[in-house]
Each structure stands twice: as structure tokens, then as C-alpha cells.
């Protein structure tokens, strides 16, 4: 088939040692009309410095309001291959574990019905299948479904939950992130496929405070593995680290964010009451330090990227929750939060924005969450204390 459009500007992006997206699209263009016209339209956009995509509208599969993102060209006469170029989000398995056979299946289906171009994974965590026509949506959905796949979330819905690899591959994970993510995915199937909220809602599950999936910045609700009780210390292993050249004072004690550690050259001491469980010392001295024995999760709420208003980071709403099946305490909390959001949230207002607008004390009171010092987000910057009438002794 070959490329039918001249692309001097795009060709420039093939130079250099790293893989080029232009090269990949050109490979797809050898057998895909979509990819051919994608190159043409992109070249035009580069030339004119303006996008030629429109998105949204009326497109999807029957019964679902999520999983398909409508994408149209505004120059369809010039590039008919991308007149429709819809994106499909396919629900990824927990921790992004696939067999090579499963990936081949997905690729075969996509070569048959779509552009042959994929995005592993999109920033949402889904398998992204880039570019197909409206009339292909139902057939591709049927074929993916028959092989056990389902569409993920999009629009004002629960987005496909995602997590780090957790206990499947990591020694630090305090919770079974994969099982939790799998359970949340099944529990909220309706909320994922049928958008019912003021705006999107994302869950991300991290096994520990290192937070490899950056849940604290990327999820409306972040579930981060933690522990109760004292950090377990093996003093002989601490000494072994020191003997091997680690500067315990500089690399561990002085980098502790709460200053709760001390080292006299022979013994490492931790004031566990002041520890905020950041995992720094444990990650640096994995053989010497271990989290306490009682495992659970800290639940945080509110982060988002700056789409409608500015970016937010999540803040703590539950310092410690046991995360064990059937996760009743967790689902009860989520239901109460959603009810509040549904009642007061404006159109396209994320939960974090609503809390900022109405105030954290009101959120805690109406959702029924007990205040806790761990919820104070910026202790040195909060200029006011807010007291309710009943707090004041008259």
C-alpha cells in the first residue's frame, strides 16, 4: 500500500536514535488506509499549527455510555481514511499482566477492525485502540467480548481502576493491590459503563507510599498500602549496610522527613509515633527494615489533572483501613462520598474541586468521617482554624 501523502515535517521526527511514532504509523500505513490518512492529516496539522480533530458526540456501543471516545476529522474530504477515527478503551487487567497470546489476540482484532495502531497504555491505564469507523464499533466490541475483554471507563463515569504490580512482583507492597483493583472493577461495572456522575472518578491502588503509579496525583481516590505498629528492625543488618559503605546518618537519618530516627554508629533507633510511613528508610535498607505487621491502606481523595480548573493532589481522609475482602468498609465509604458528590457537585466538577468549594470540614461532617490530624494537608500554611457553633463553649 505504501504512504500516499508526502510528509517532510513528520519525516524529521524519525531522526535520532530513539523509536519514532512516525515510523510506527508508517509501518501501519503499509496495510491500513486509516494510518495513511493519519499521516496526511498530522502533516497538515504540523504545517498549519492547528489540530484537525473534533471529539465527543454521539458514538458508542449499545447499552454502554463509556469505552468509546468519538474522534472525527474536520477535513474528511481530504483525508477520508480518518473521517471517523474513534478510540476504544479496553479494560486492562490488574497490574497490566498479559500473556503474549492475549496481546496477539487484541492486535489481530484491531488489525481487522481498526487502524492497527495501539497505545499501551493510555494515561488512564486502559489498553487504547486508536482509530476505527462508527460502523465497526459494534463488531469490534462483540469480538473483543467473545474473547473475554470488556471496554473500560470514559466520560462522567468510574474510570478503569489501575494499580501497581503489588504483591505479584514487589517485596514492599503492604496490600494486595491486584486483588483490590480486580474487586473494585467488578463491584463498579455499572458505574464504569454507564456514566452517572457529575464528572469522572478514578481509583488507583498503590502497594506502599513509594506510590509507583503516582496515585496521589492521578486518582480521585488513592488507596495506598501502609501499616500499623512499629517498623521492624534487624540491627545486625543495619550494621551490615554500614559496613558495606552506606552512610546511615546522611542517607537514612537525615533524609527522614519527620526526623524520627537516630544512629549512634551501632544502633538505629526509630520513634515510631512520629513516623509518617513514607517508606524511604525501608526502601533504602530492605534487608534491615520491614513495615509493621498489621497491614492496611491509607485512603486519600481529590487529586486531578488541570482540565477544567487547576491540578490537585489527594489528601488523607482515612489514615488506616483494613483492606480485606469483601471490602465492606471501603465500599460503604465510597457510596457515602458519591452520594454527597451527586447531591452538591456541579456539572464537570471533580470530587476534589467540590471539597475545595464547599470546604473540608463540611465534607467530613456530611459524609460522616471523623477528623484526624493526618488529614491536615499543609500544617505550616493553614492560617485559620474553623470552629462550628457547637465546638464553641458558651
Amino acid at each position: 500500500m505504501g504512504t500516499k501523502h508526502k510528509t517532510p515535517l513528520l519525516d524529521d521526527l524519525e531522526k535520532g536514535p530513539f523509536p519514532s511514532f512516525v515510523t510506527e504509523i508508517k509501518k501501519a500505513a503499509e496495510h491500513s488506509e486509516y494510518a495513511q490518512d493519519l499521516l496526511g492529516q498530522l502533516e497538515l496539522s504540523f504545517k498549519e499549527k492547528v489540530t484537525h480533530w473534533k471529539h465527543g458526540g454521539i458514538v458508542g456501543v449499545r447499552g454502554y455510555g463509556s469505552g468509546v471516545i468519538g474522534r472525527y476529522s474536520d477535513v474528511p474530504e481530504e483525508f477520508p481514511g480518518v473521517a471517523h477515527f474513534h478510540t476504544l478503551r479496553v479494560n486492562s487487567p490488574s497490574g497490566f499482566f498479559y500473556s503474549t497470546k492475549a496481546l496477539r489476540e487484541i492486535c489481530e482484532v484491531w488489525d481487522k477492525y481498526g487502524s492497527g495502531l495501539t497505545n499501551m497504555h493510555g494515561s488512564t491505564g486502559d489498553i487504547i485502540l486508536l482509530g476505527t469507523k462508527t460502523e465497526n464499533l459494534e463488531p469490534v466490541f462483540a469480538e473483543l467480548s467473545s474473547r473475554g475483554w470488556d471496554l473500560g471507563g470514559s466520560g462522567s463515569a468510574v474510570r478503569t481502576p489501575s494499580c501497581c504490580v503489588g504483591q505479584a512482583r514487589c517485596e514492599w507492597s503492604n496490600i494486595d493491590t491486584m486483588a483490590i483493583t480486580h474487586d473494585i472493577t467488578h463491584h463498579y461495572q455499572d458505574e464504569m459503563h454507564r456514566p452517572a456522575f457529575p464528572y469522572k472518578f478514578k481509583f488507583k491502588v498503590a502497594g506502599c507510599a513509594i506510590d509507583c503509579i503516582a496515585s496521589i496525583a492521578r486518582a480521585d481516590m488513592s488507596i495506598i498500602g501502609t501499616w500499623k505498629g512499629d517498623i521492624q528492625i534487624d540491627q545486625d543488618e543495619v550494621k551490615a549496610y554500614a559496613a558495606a559503605g552506606m552512610d546511615i546518618q546522611k542517607e537514612i537519618v537525615e533524609l527522614c522527613p519527620t526526623g524520627c530516627m537516630s544512629w549512634d554508629g551501632s544502633e538505629l533507633k526509630i520513634n515510631n509515633e512520629d513516623c509518617n510511613r513514607c517508606m524511604h528508610c525501608i526502601a533504602k535498607m530492605a534487608k534491615a527494615l520491614r513495615p509493621g505487621p498489621e497491614k492496611g491502606a491509607t485512603i486519600l481523595l481529590g487529586s486531578k489533572a488541570p482540565i477544567v480548573t487547576g491540578a490537585l493532589m489527594s489528601w488523607v481522609i482515612v489514615p488506616f483501613m483494613k483492606m480485606e475482602p469483601p471490602y465492606e468498609e471501603f465500599y460503604d465509604l465510597v457510596d457515602r462520598i458519591w452520594e454527597w458528590w451527586d447531591e452538591y457537585g456541579k456539572n464537570r466538577e471533580r470530587i476534589g474541586e467540590l471539597i475545595e468549594r464547599l470546604g473540608f470540614p463540611r465534607f467530613l461532617k456530611e459524609v460522616g468521617i471523623e477528623p484526624h490530624p493526618a488529614m491536615v494537608k499543609e500544617p505550616r500554611r493553614d492560617p485559620f482554624f474553623f470552629w462550628s457553633e457547637e465546638d464553641i463553649e458558651k
Binding site: G56, Y64, S156, R194, P198, N347
Partner: protein, 73 residues
């Protein structure tokens, strides 16, 4: 309330709002539940049947809305 009657109420609500205000699923649940004294869960189930039958669809214009599908030419 009979399921079919509930579905008719929902459909008419969406129909009347077309061209004036885009309704979100939660708008429909709240309004029908409040005006007809029906549990939100029942309204949701009726809405889902309308969706599955293709009588109503979800659309996306910044947020997700419930609308009547365009007539095929």
C-alpha cells in the same frame, strides 16, 4: 409504578429537554424519583432498559449526557 409507565416518564422527560438542556443520568434519577415517589434504583433500572433497547443513548459533550438517538436517514 409499572416499569413500562416509568420508562415512558423517563423518555418523555428526555424528549422535552432536547434542545433546551442536556440531562445527566443523575438529573433524571433525582427528578423522576422526587416527582413520582419512585426509588432511584428503580428509575435507574428503567433507564438501563431504555439504553439496552437503544431508545436512549449516552452522548459526550465535555460530560456524559442521556439523549434520544438521532433518527437514521
Amino acid at each position: 409504578m409499572e416499569r413500562e409507565e416509568l420508562k415512558k416518564i423517563i423518555y418523555e422527560l428526555v424528549e422535552k429537554s432536547m434542545g433546551k438542556k442536556k440531562l445527566k443520568q443523575s438529573d433524571i434519577l433525582k427528578k423522576v424519583s422526587a416527582e413520582h415517589g419512585v426509588d432511584k434504583g428503580e428509575v435507574k433500572a428503567a433507564l438501563r432498559e431504555l439504553m439496552d433497547a437503544g431508545k436512549l443513548i449516552f452522548t459526550y459533550f465535555g460530560g456524559s449526557y442521556v439523549e434520544i438517538p438521532p433518527k437514521e436517514e
